[in-house]
C-alpha cells in the first residue's frame, strides 16, 4: 500500500500559491509564509480567493497532486486535473457497466449494503457504549429495520428500488442522529439533514466533513485510473463526481458522521466556531474550520486493519484501498466488489 502523504490546507483569505523549483511557495501580500517541497503532498486544498499560479497547477497535474479550490464556506468550486491516469481499457469497462442497468445495480447494491451495515454498526456501538444516555429500545428497533433493509438490498437488482431502500434506511438512521449527540445539546442539535446552505451547526459540520471526504475519494479514484464522474448509483450529471459519491456512501457513516459526532461529544467544537448569516446559513469561522481540518488530518493518520485486505493502513488510505478494489473488480480480477465493512 502506498504511503499516505500530507495535505496542505490554505484557509487564510488572499493567499497566493506559486511554484519555485520543486516547492510550493505560499505568499500573502508579498510576504512569504511558507515554502514546502511538493513531493511531501498528495493534495493541496485551498479555501482562499487569491489563487494559484498556472505553473504550480501544471506541476501539480504532472505530479498527480490533487489541487482543489473550495469556496470560503467549503463548497467545492474547481479542481486541477492532469492527463488521465491508468489505462483506457479499465475506463471503458467502467463506462460499459454504467450503461448496463443490471450490472450497475450489482455494484450499487454493494455500496448501499455497506453503507447501511456501517450505519447499523454505529447505532449498535452507541447502544453498547452509552446504554443510559440513549433510548436503547429505539436504537435496537432501527437496527433491526436496517437489517431487514440489508436483506432486501442483497436480492434487489433494480436501481430505483435500491435508491428507495437507501432513502428509507437513511431516514431511519438520521432520526437517531440527534440522540447520538451527547454533549452541548443546546448548540448542537439535529432535526433533519439540510444543506446548500446548512442551517444549523451540526449540518454545517456534516457538510464540511462530506466535502473533505468527497475530495479524498475523488482523488483516490483518479489515482487508480477510474473516472470519478461516471457512477453506478448516482446518475451522470455534468460536474458531479458520481462515482466518488457512490464510493463515499459506504464511508460516510464511519469516516464523516462519526468524526463529526466525536468533534461535538469531545467538545472540540464550540458555539464560537460558527457564524450565522442573515439568510439563515450557518458557516464555520476561520478558526473553527482550521480546528476541524486539523482534527480531520490527524484522524487520517490513525491506523486500522482493513477488513478485506487484512492489511494495516491509515484511515486516510481507506478511500484509496476501496478504489483499488473497485478497479480490480472492473478488471475481472475478483468476483464481486468488496465494500468497506467496518468492524
Amino acid at each position: 500500500m502506498k504511503k499516505l502523504l500530507n495535505t496542505l490546507f490554505i484557509t487564510t483569505p488572499d493567499i497566493y500559491l506559486s511554484l519555485k523549483g520543486e516547492n510550493v511557495v505560499i505568499t500573502h501580500e508579498n510576504q512569504q509564509l511558507g515554502r514546502f517541497p511538493l513531493h511531501n503532498f498528495e493534495a493541496i486544498c485551498t479555501f482562499g480567493y487569491a489563487g494559484a499560479s498556472p505553473k504550480l497547477m501544471y506541476a501539480c497535474a504532472e505530479k498527480n497532486i490533487n489541487l482543489t479550490f473550495l469556496s470560503r464556506s467549503g463548497r467545492f468550486l474547481a479542481r486541477v486535473v492532469g492527463e488521465s491516469k491508468g489505462n483506457v481499457i479499465l475506463r471503458k469497462t467502467q463506462y460499459r457497466l454504467s450503461e448496463n442497468e443490471v450490472e450497475s445495480a450489482k455494484i450499487a447494491r454493494n455500496f448501499i449494503f455497506a453503507k447501511i451495515a456501517n450505519q447499523k454498526w454505529i447505532l449498535e456501538r452507541m447502544a453498547r457504549d452509552y446504554p443510559l444516555r440513549i433510548d436503547v429500545p429505539m436504537f435496537k428497533q432501527v437496527s433491526s429495520e436496517l437489517t431487514t433493509a440489508m436483506k432486501a438490498i442483497l436480492v434487489t437488482e433494480d436501481l430505483e428500488r435500491l435508491r428507495g431502500l437507501e432513502g428509507q434506511a437513511a431516514t431511519a438512521y438520521f432520526k437517531l442522529f440527534d440522540q447520538m449527540i451527547l454533549q452541548q445539546k443546546d448548540i448542537f442539535y439535529f432535526r433533519n439533514r439540510n444543506r446548500r446552505p446548512p442551517t444549523d451547526n451540526v449540518n454545517a459540520l456534516l457538510s464540511l466533513a462530506y466535502t473533505l471526504l468527497a475530495s479524498d475519494v475523488t482523488s483516490a479514484l483518479e489515482t487508480v485510473g477510474l473516472d470519478a464522474y461516471v457512477g453506478y448509483l448516482h446518475r451522470d450529471r455534468p460536474g458531479r463526481a458520481s462515482l466518488a459519491l457512490d464510493v463515499m456512501e459506504e464511508l460516510r457513516g464511519v469516516m464523516a458522521d462519526r468524526f463529526v459526532l466525536k468533534m461535538i461529544n469531545k467538545k472540540m467544537m464550540q458555539s464560537t466556531d460558527f457564524v450565522q448569516k442573515e439568510n439563515g446559513a450557518v458557516l464555520l469561522t476561520d478558526d473553527g474550520r482550521r480546528k476541524f481540518i486539523k482534527a480531520w488530518q490527524e484522524r487520517k493518520q490513525e491506523s486500522l486493519t482493513h477488513p478485506y485486505l487484512n492489511e494495516k493502513i491509515n484511515w486516510g488510505l481507506v478511500p484509496h484501498a476501496q478504489a483499488i478494489l473497485l478497479a480490480r473488480y472492473l478488471r475481472g480480477d475478483i468476483e464481486e466488489y468488496p465494500p468497506f465493512l467496518w468492524k
Partner: protein, 96 residues
C-alpha cells in the same frame, strides 16, 4: 524518513560560489532549510538516492563535503529545536 543534509562548499572562487548556489537549490527542492547550510528532507529511499546523486554531481570532492544523517521514520522524538526560526514539519497538519 527524515534525512539531515549538511554541506561545506569552499567559496573562495566564483566557481565555488556558483557550486554553493547550485547545492542549495537542489537541497531546497528536496527539503526545508533549517539553518544556513542545513536541510531537513522528508524523503523515501528513491528520493534520497536521487538527492545524493544530484549533489554528488555538483560538488568538487577535493574541496567540498556533504554529510547525510538518516534519522528514520520516527524522527520526531530525535529533533529538539531551541531558539529562533522554528520551522514547519512537512508531515504535520499544515494549515495556513
Amino acid at each position: 524518513m527524515l534525512v539531515l543534509v549538511t554541506y561545506d562548499v569552499v567559496t573562495k572562487t566564483p566557481i565555488g560560489r556558483k557550486r554553493l548556489r547550485k547545492v542549495a537549490k537542489i537541497c531546497e527542492n528536496f527539503g526545508i532549510r533549517v539553518q544556513n547550510s542545513v536541510f531537513e528532507c522528508v524523503v523515501d529511499a528513491t528520493q534520497f538516492k536521487q538527492l545524493q546523486l544530484a549533489l554528488q554531481e555538483i560538488i568538487d570532492v577535493e574541496e567540498d563535503s556533504l554529510r547525510f544523517y538518516q534519522l528514520g521514520n520516527n524522527y520526531k522524538s530525535k529533533v529538539i529545536h531551541i531558539g529562533a526560526k522554528e520551522t514547519f514539519n512537512v508531515e504535520d497538519t499544515i494549515i495556513l
